[in-house]
Symmetry: D2
Subunit: 129 residues, 4 copies
């Protein structure tokens, strides 16, 4: 799928002069939502239909700093790791430079927090386990 | 009322080496919620009871920079500016130094966004107009 | 100039189900930086050359809520309000709906915080006072 | 050491009605900085002396949601995992309920990003490997 593109905001920098490590977490989330969109799903519509995807685990490995105004791209792929779990693996790049790697596992739950099956319509977009 | 105290987080700094101007907005909100608490009201309980206070206007004047790890205090007072409007005026201080001044106007609305009267129990805590 | 476009991130929502009012502040900043870019200036390059633009005042009027995944546009214009002051006026829109209006005044300063003149090369992009 | 205490800010909630998963990252950072302070070190002073601690990896496991206005505590311990690496392990609690567990590895570097030894004065506060 096409990479998700973003530009580092000034507010996302810290006094070390780089993008703060916490800033990557909303970027990765935006990239997952973009991945869903490219797979034909609006996360807004999924939530309206009563499907939520809370984050269970986050792992990020920071390799090189991103800087203010950098144009970054995030490549994401997803894999089912259970009937109601999806692991998203992402690479944050600046051109060909790898800045960070991440894995974020989400659960599919209903409005009461009970696990539900990943929608069948999402399965074709998931990479084999 | 007692000032609301906070310490500047590293994530709130920017590459100018100071607290980013956007960081003050959640601080001011936390100070308003603390003001409500000192006035005997839990904003969480108000929301559960169907009263919401969306922000209508924000004005901040930044006078001196706050820095990482600074211990700040925010003095807040509130005034009714209409049957369903409250203006909160705050000063952000570092000891005796004034760092910023703000006025944030909120509306009292119900769950559908319709204006409702400020709860009578809040009125004694408001300063005269 | 062309409007600055953004999509509301999930992390920018709050439990009222709308974009939190603090989220607009980094959006407005990104729109100012984009305005500078369209006027031929990289804010990153300006900072590297020793020119900083700290925010002096922020005023925002929130008219309608923005929601998760909304595609917004921000129109910005700028006016010199002194030899080292620029006022940016912005409108945050969702299509033809006006969601918020803002004025952010920045100072032009050097690395020691001393006011400096607005770069002459910026003047043609500023609207008359 | 004493736990680091915080109260969940409204701005940290999302439209699922809970603290957004990204909000924990600055909390964990504030808890590390508090840990350093209790160990006799001001991170601000360390940076002024030319020692920086950029984050290398973040891992968080979210177990239960935190909610607006919740009073949380974060217990942190630290272990040297190399001559210039420290792993901080934290538990985010609401009273006796475990909400999240995290491990954040930081590097000790100088102003040019070159690894430097963990200050000897920190070693007594680190747990054995």
């Amino acid at each position: 799928m096409a990479a998700y593109a973003l530009r580092v905001r000034y507010a996302e920098t810290d006094q070390m002069g780089v993008a703060h490590h916490a800033a990557y977490i909303p970027w990765l989330e935006a990239a997952r939502i973009d991945w869903l969109r490219q797979a034909g799903h609006s996360y807004r519509a999924l939530e309206s239909a009563g499907l939520f995807m809370p984050v269970i685990t986050v792992q990020v490995r920071y390799r090189k700093a991103a800087r203010f105004d950098d144009e970054l791209e995030i490549d994401t792929e997803a894999q089912a790791t259970g009937p109601s779990r999806v692991a998203f693996r992402s690479q944050v790049r600046r051109g060909s430079e790898l800045l960070a790697e991440a894995e974020v596992v989400v659960a599919a739950v209903d409005g009461t927090g009970r696990p539900v099956r990943i929608p069948a319509s999402l399965l074709p977009a998931l990479t084999p386990g």
